[in-house]
Symmetry: C2
Subunit: 192 residues, 2 copies
DNA sequence: CTCAGAAACTATAACCATTATAGATTCGGA
DNA sequence: TCCGAATCTATAATGGTTATAGTTTCTGAG
């Protein structure tokens, strides 16, 4: 990697770090992009050159990670394990569902979960992997990636973090949702 | 209804109409709120007084309609019909899933479907009914409205318009998704 | 090595949505 | 009739985002 790319990555990092620090200290709405640019010692134009999606994207990567992570979790799952089980398992290790994280990441997660704008952007990143996940699921289940059932399943799995992330017991919520996806909605009709 | 409320409703209507007309003519991004305010002959401040959620909300109602509509569809469904069947049926009559609409509404629907910002806001309106729908479902199925399974089902049903609205055959997509929710994900494992 | 061009960065100025302020007008009810 | 509240207005400020045009820094070809 040449010096150019190294410096670019450095700048991006400085922006992430500055943004996260300031957000944690003053709250998302209490910080302006100008302050973040100052703190990272770049111009505002440079900030937006690095983060085309805007302020919310500052503390996130571009979503590539999630995509490959999901695809490999499905493809390389242990033999005998179903696709949904594999997704269940790897989701459980993720962000909102475990406390087995370095305190720095935990602070970041708490910031995201407690800030609507950041939660929403996080969801957008998850949804952006829908195509990749649909392909992975399709490959394992003899269906077309464009099959609506496949796309819907992918979408519903990717909505789980936003859906369960704010529950009192996120992990229990996660389990309940995967159970629903696995078995569908079984009605227990009301007494007449 | 006094003159005051009547005038207020009139102004709100003028804003909706102006916004829809201009959006259709120049595209969502090709119109500024200033132009809309001008066209409706009110000040910008008045525009925002009527539409606190901002530009995207101009052509939508406040979501109350959907809420009551969903709740009654579930509660007053024909005897013998399941909750999901009732929701399936009433969704099918809605926006993106039928062409049985006056041309004016069809143009509005096409505008929304083809404009990301408006699609997103439409989804927000649907999701805002999650609590109401969850209560309705809970009441019919002997579960608590806070039961994660109930909440997830409500959420997943309300995501359908965004999920299926852009498909080539939205109605077929709708049917497939309800089938998934009804029966869950049945894997047809790949040959070894 | 060198130099031409690409990439990253900068300052500056614009644009637009949104909110705040303060004051004017209109309406409803007592 | 008259007070208070709701609506509307003009105006200005804030803050995110983009456009422009020019400067510096790196890379790779010759």
């Amino acid at each position: 990697m040449g010096r150019r790319e190294r410096k670019k990555a450095q700048t991006r990092r400085a922006l992430s770090d500055a943004a996260l620090r300031l957000f944690c200290e003053h709250g998302y709405d209490g910080v302006t992009v100008a302050q973040i640019a100052d703190e990272a010692d770049v111009s505002i134009a440079t900030l937006f050159a690095h983060v085309p999606d805007g302020k919310e994207a500052l503390i996130f990567d571009d979503g590539t990670e999630r995509r490959v992570w999901l695809a490999t979790a499905v493809r390389d799952r242990p033999p005998g394990q179903s696709v949904l089980e594999a997704l269940h398992q790897c989701m459980a290790a993720r962000g909102p569902f475990t406390n087995d994280l370095p305190p720095e990441l935990r602070r970041k997660r708490d910031l995201i979960v407690s800030t609507p704008a950041l939660r929403e952007y996080s969801r957008k990143l998850w949804i952006a992997s829908e195509g990749a996940l649909a392909e992975a699921i399709a490959a394992e289940s003899d269906r077309a990636p464009s099959d609506m059932t496949v796309r819907a399943l992918a979408r519903y799995v990717l909505e789980i973090p936003e859906l369960a992330g704010t529950e009192p017991d996120p992990l229990a919520a996660l389990n309940a949702i995967f159970d629903l996806l696995e078995s569908g909605w079984r009605e227990s009709p009301k007494e007449a």
